[in-house]
Symmetry: D2
Subunit: 209 residues, 4 copies
Amino acid sequence: MSSVDLGHNFLLLPRNCQVRELQTILRDKTTSRSDFKFYADRLIRLVIEEGLNQLPYTQTVVTTPTNCEYAGVVFEKGNCGVSIVRSGEAMEQGLRDCCRSIRIGKILVDSDHDTHDARVVYAKFPEDIAKRKILLMYPIMSTGNTVIRSVKVLKDHQVPEENIILVNLFCTPQAAHSVVEHFPAMKILTSELHAVAPNHFGQKYFGTE
Amino acid sequence: MSSVDLGHNFLLLPRNCQVRELQTILRDKTTSRSDFKFYADRLIRLVIEEGLNQLPYTQTVVTTPTNCEYAGVVFEKGNCGVSIVRSGEAMEQGLRDCCRSIRIGKILVDSDHDTHDARVVYAKFPEDIAKRKILLMYPIMSTGNTVIRSVKVLKDHQVPEENIILVNLFCTPQAAHSVVEHFPAMKILTSELHAVAPNHFGQKYFGTE
Amino acid sequence: MSSVDLGHNFLLLPRNCQVRELQTILRDKTTSRSDFKFYADRLIRLVIEEGLNQLPYTQTVVTTPTNCEYAGVVFEKGNCGVSIVRSGEAMEQGLRDCCRSIRIGKILVDSDHDTHDARVVYAKFPEDIAKRKILLMYPIMSTGNTVIRSVKVLKDHQVPEENIILVNLFCTPQAAHSVVEHFPAMKILTSELHAVAPNHFGQKYFGTE
Amino acid sequence: MSSVDLGHNFLLLPRNCQVRELQTILRDKTTSRSDFKFYADRLIRLVIEEGLNQLPYTQTVVTTPTNCEYAGVVFEKGNCGVSIVRSGEAMEQGLRDCCRSIRIGKILVDSDHDTHDARVVYAKFPEDIAKRKILLMYPIMSTGNTVIRSVKVLKDHQVPEENIILVNLFCTPQAAHSVVEHFPAMKILTSELHAVAPNHFGQKYFGTE
């Protein structure tokens, strides 16, 4: 499987050695919870930085303190974050570390134990969400069902699919294909495509083992 | 009304000028969201510090690098935080700033629009919650209904009432009386008792106006 | 010895159990460096909060989002921090955690190995330092010589003695008496007055053992 | 001028749009000090992450919580940071955000006003510095003189040139050539090579204008 199969909207974080080290620490069952949280936050920040990089920007010229002109870029306003409870909330601080006062909404999806259907039990967004670019935060994707249900909620709120960037840490090929198939216009950014997802992530991060 | 009426388990943060300034900034409708979050975090940390101070501790003697003995204190292990969604989550970072790797659970209570009854839609705790001392986080109390419902959930999980410390920023006298009456053995810590609660807190903190 | 002997400008942080626990951890030679830094930062924030509380403020009335009036307080502008290198720099982050964009100056004093005289080798201040209230940061005072030399530098820059608040963590009675005698109008705030100062503080905090 | 001329030890941070936006904000004279610090910290973290990526690592296999094997990497121990006073100290927090309890040393170099010679007035290192890999932090390089003097101090302490990675934000071509010529075995990492260096960086970051 290559990322090409998943189309140009599916993006992998450049996999340098730091990224690989962070993935290794998060996979390792002997990692302490304090370390787990610290290194998870680092990997989250790197994925968020790359996610922000997908947002639209324009050219600009600014004046320096020595009154020179400097040709730069400026990102457009009107972004927000939405975390999928519970593990997505682990990514909120990383988003704030990069965008100090960004608005952050939330979706809580529950799975029916019998049918495995995902159902929304809670959602809270900025009022003008339909006009915003959205960083949808969810660190672990095994099947993609929770994300698919959450994106449907956003679309119910008139958010265009192409305004959503899903930021993720670990993704299975199955989940990647499922989500891409459902929402081909949504951008997906992850740090690793691997058959086994570290499903203990949320429990270890928040200590609710 | 004085705090005496509310019994010895109801505690007010010492109201020095910094605390009053933070309350003033959080009450002021002209405060920017970036400032609101920054100063809320400061007040939260001060309330959390005072809340931690209510936990049990024991005497200890440690050896210094120069091999002297030093008589100190050590707090007992086995604490955890529980935030009441949504505004209670604003207090999670403050708790982590004081207790690096503390476990954090979560309760989501919804109000019925017709009956105003509070009902639990989601709860996630550390497995051994019944044995832990709990800092229950909820910043604004107007009626106390959400807190009362949440404490019932904790008691359903066999948590003794006296193991809970409710940490709060702003509380109305009505809510204070209601919560104290329901749970006389629970400790309640707030920074201000005032007839008007700043109900915009959660929306302003997370930017979901 | 009581703090009364040291006059009304010498202030001790209220010594509750949390403060005592932090002092215990910082005194304990078995504390890991990671924990040392974390708990030092907590004690530093508490001292800084108390230091900020000494600054001048005025009454104000603000309007709440529900258009009520709220009687509050506002602190005067024009403060800055000055850290004494090197251990004082450990307090800079704590100051920023409370005052987001406060200006921070710096003084480096060196001791002559033969004469034990302190001599200034470097100083960098905001240009208008003479008009500001100054939080002078230095965590450990054994003899007080470094602080005395540093305050002289500030006075050379036309800073009135009464505009300086020295924020400190651990102080010996000898140092307290010496500094109070030299600068009776300067406020001094510490968390502990004890015959033995933990002189390993800076080396352990920065890891330059 | 191309980076090729500077040899394979001179590295430029991949210049994506987020990086360009951060550079734009830091160049803009209308940027508030609070924003300046926030965005500088973001750019610093990105450079530090890339700097850490230059450190030696080895292959490892870890066991996951589900008892699978995972092939990962682990970085070698024995790194430390050294900041060149004053502006280099702005990079210390970013380093700690990536390496929680890394040891941090310090060098203070002063320039003679008449001869423009740089001279060391203060240096403090971990005792075993000669055996460590060093991230040398200095954000702005105009001439390279301060860095050259600082590296000489490290070499006087038996640190091999190839053990040093200089992490920098803004560098002039003149400084780049001068430093590369002096220390061809040292790695240099910067985010921008530009004829004009934003020399107001340290003053704006610390507010000592």
